[in-house]
Symmetry: C2
Subunit: 279 residues, 2 copies
C-alpha cells in the first residue's frame, strides 16, 4: 500500500517560487537536468521586488506562497529567490512537511569548491547582503574563506528593462564591482536569480580569471538528489498533451508571459493570476 502511494507521489509537480520573473532561471535549470518533472511556478509580481523588504515581510509573503503551492499538491518546494531563501527558508522548513530547498546553500557550496585563493564575492539584493547568509554558509564549509558582499539594487531593474548587454549596465556593473576586483576575489556568486541574465556583462567587467557561480545550476542538481533521497524522482515522461509546466503570478500575467518568453526558450504558453493575499 505504502509503495503505491509513493509511486503516485512521483508524478506530482515540483513547486517553485520567486518574487517575480527571476526564478525562471532556476526553472530553466530544473527543466534541463530533470526533464521528466512537472513544475508549478509562482511569481509574486504584485509585490515584487523582495530585495529591499524586511525579513518579516518576506517571510509572511513566502508563507502565503507555500500555502498556495501546497494547495497545488506539489511534492517538493524550491525557493528560487535568494532574498526569500536568506530570510524565510528556516521558518518555512518548520511549517511544511514537504522537502524544501533554497538557492543560497547550493550556491555557497559551489563557490567553496570553486575558489582557489579563498576570496569569494557575493552580489545580491540589499536584503540578501544584509542577512549575511552566504557568509554564514560559506564559512561553515571553509572557516578561512573571506567573503565580500555587495548589494546591486539597480541590476534587477536593468534586467527587467531588457538592458542585458548595454553600455549603461556595464557602467553600473563597473561601479558596483570595482571594490570586489580590488579585494582580489577569484569567485563571484550571482546571488540574485535575475543576475544570470547579465552574466556576460558581469563576466566582462570581472575579467576571465574570476569564476562566476550561478546557484540555479547547483540548486537543480541538489533538487534531483533530494527527490532521489525521498524516492519521489519521476522516472517516466508525462503523457503527451499534459500541461507539464504551469505558471501563476499575483499580477500582470500578460507582462510576465512576454518577459518570460523573451528570456526563456521553452515558451511560457500561459500564466494565470491568483490573489496571493488570500493564502
Amino acid at each position: 500500500m505504502e509503495a503505491a502511494i509513493e509511486q503516485d507521489k512521483t508524478k506530482l509537480p515540483i513547486g517553485v517560487f520567486d518574487s517575480g520573473v527571476g526564478g525562471l532561471t532556476v526553472v530553466r535549470e530544473i527543466m534541463r537536468q530533470i526533464p521528466n518533472e512537472s513544475i508549478v511556478y509562482f511569481g509574486d509580481t504584485a509585490r515584487v521586488p523582495y530585495g529591499g523588504k524586511s525579513k518579516e515581510t518576506v517571510t509572511k509573503y513566502s508563507r502565503q506562497i507555500v500555502r498556495f503551492l501546497q494547495e497545488q499538491q506539489v511534492k517538493a518546494i524550491v525557493v528560487a529567490c535568494n532574498t526569500a531563501s536568506a530570510y524565510a527558508l528556516e521558518a518555512l522548513e518548520e511549517e511544511t512537511h514537504l522537502p524544501i530547498i533554497g538557492v543560497v546553500k547550493p550556491g555557497a557550496k559551489t563557490a567553496v569548491e570553486t575558489t582557489r585563493n579563498g576570496k569569494i564575492g557575493v552580489i545580491a539584493t540589499k536584503g540578501t547582503i544584509r542577512s549575511e547568509i552566504y557568509t554564514q554558509y560559506i564559512q561553515q564549509l571553509n572557516q578561512n574563506a573571506q567573503v565580500v558582499g555587495k548589494a546591486c539594487p539597480l541590476f534587477v531593474s536593468l534586467v527587467e528593462e531588457g538592458l542585458l548587454e548595454d553600455p549603461v549596465t556595464e557602467e553600473i556593473a563597473q561601479r558596483y564591482l570595482s571594490g570586489l576586483i580590488d579585494v582580489g576575489i577569484d569567485t563571484l556568486i550571482l546571488g540574485c536569480t535575475h543576475y544570470p541574465l547579465i552574466r556576460s556583462t558581469v563576466g566582462k567587467v570581472m575579467g576571465p580569471e574570476v569564476s562566476l557561480v550561478n546557484p540555479a545550476y547547483e540548486t537543480a542538481k541538489e533538487l534531483k538528489e533530494l527527490l532521489e533521497e525521498h524516492h519521489i524522482l519521476r522516472s517516466d515522461k508525462p503523457a503527451l498533451g499534459t500541461n507539464q509546466y504551469r505558471f501563476f503570478v499575483s499580477d500582470g500575467a500578460g507582462d510576465f508571459q512576454e518577459f518570460a518568453n523573451s528570456i526563456f526558450k521553452y515558451g511560457v504558453l500561459s500564466a494565470k493570476e491568483i490573489d496571493i493575499e488570500k493564502y
Copy 2:
C-alpha cells in the same frame, strides 16, 4: 452646533499616500503652501512599486490605504501617486465621503495653461502611460492638444539609488526623452512623483525651451482651494510640541526615514510600520 463641528474639523490632518517615498515631493509642496496643516503620510513600501502593476491591484491597494487613513481621522485625502490617481481615483471617490484629490488632474491643467504650441509630453510609469489618463484630462481642457506619453520605468530605481545627477541617469534620460524632443513638445509633465527629484537632469536633456510641469505644486494649490471650499482649511498653527507630521509605511521604516531625510529638508523624525493588508 454645526459651526462647532466644522471648527473642530479644520484641526484634523490631511491624509497623503503614495506607493513609497515619491509622494514626499507632494508633502513638501503642501507644507510650503499651507503650513498650518497637519499631515498623515502613508507610503506602501511593502508593495512598491505600483507603476508596473494592474489597475485591479492598484485599486485594491489604494482602497486599503484609504481605510487606514480614515481610521486616522483625516479630513481630506491626497492621492500623491500618479499610478494610483490614474487607476483608482474614480473608485475611491465613490467610496469615501471625504474630499479627495489626485495629482493627475492638476498636472494636466497646468500643462494646458503652459503650452504654447499645444504639444505636451508626459513621462510616467507604465501604468500611468497605459491608462492614457493625462491625455484624457488634457484633451477635455483643450481638444486640439497633442499629447505624447513615454514610460520611463528605470527612473524610479535610479532615484531610489540616489543617482539624481549622474551620467548614467543622463544617458537613460537621453534614450527615454529623444522621441519627445523629435516631436517638438514645448511642455513636459513629470508624471511620477519620483521625477521632480531628477528635474535638473531631465531639464538638461530637454533644453531650456521646454517647460517642466511638476504636478505636486499645482496639487497643493488645488488642495488649498478644496479645503477652503469645504470650510476645513486650518487658520491657526498647531500648538508647539504637537506632532504635526506623522509618517507610516508598510515596511522598512528605517530605510524610509533615511531616504526621506536625504531628499527632505524638513526632517522626518520617525516613521511607523503598519500591516496594510489588514485594512
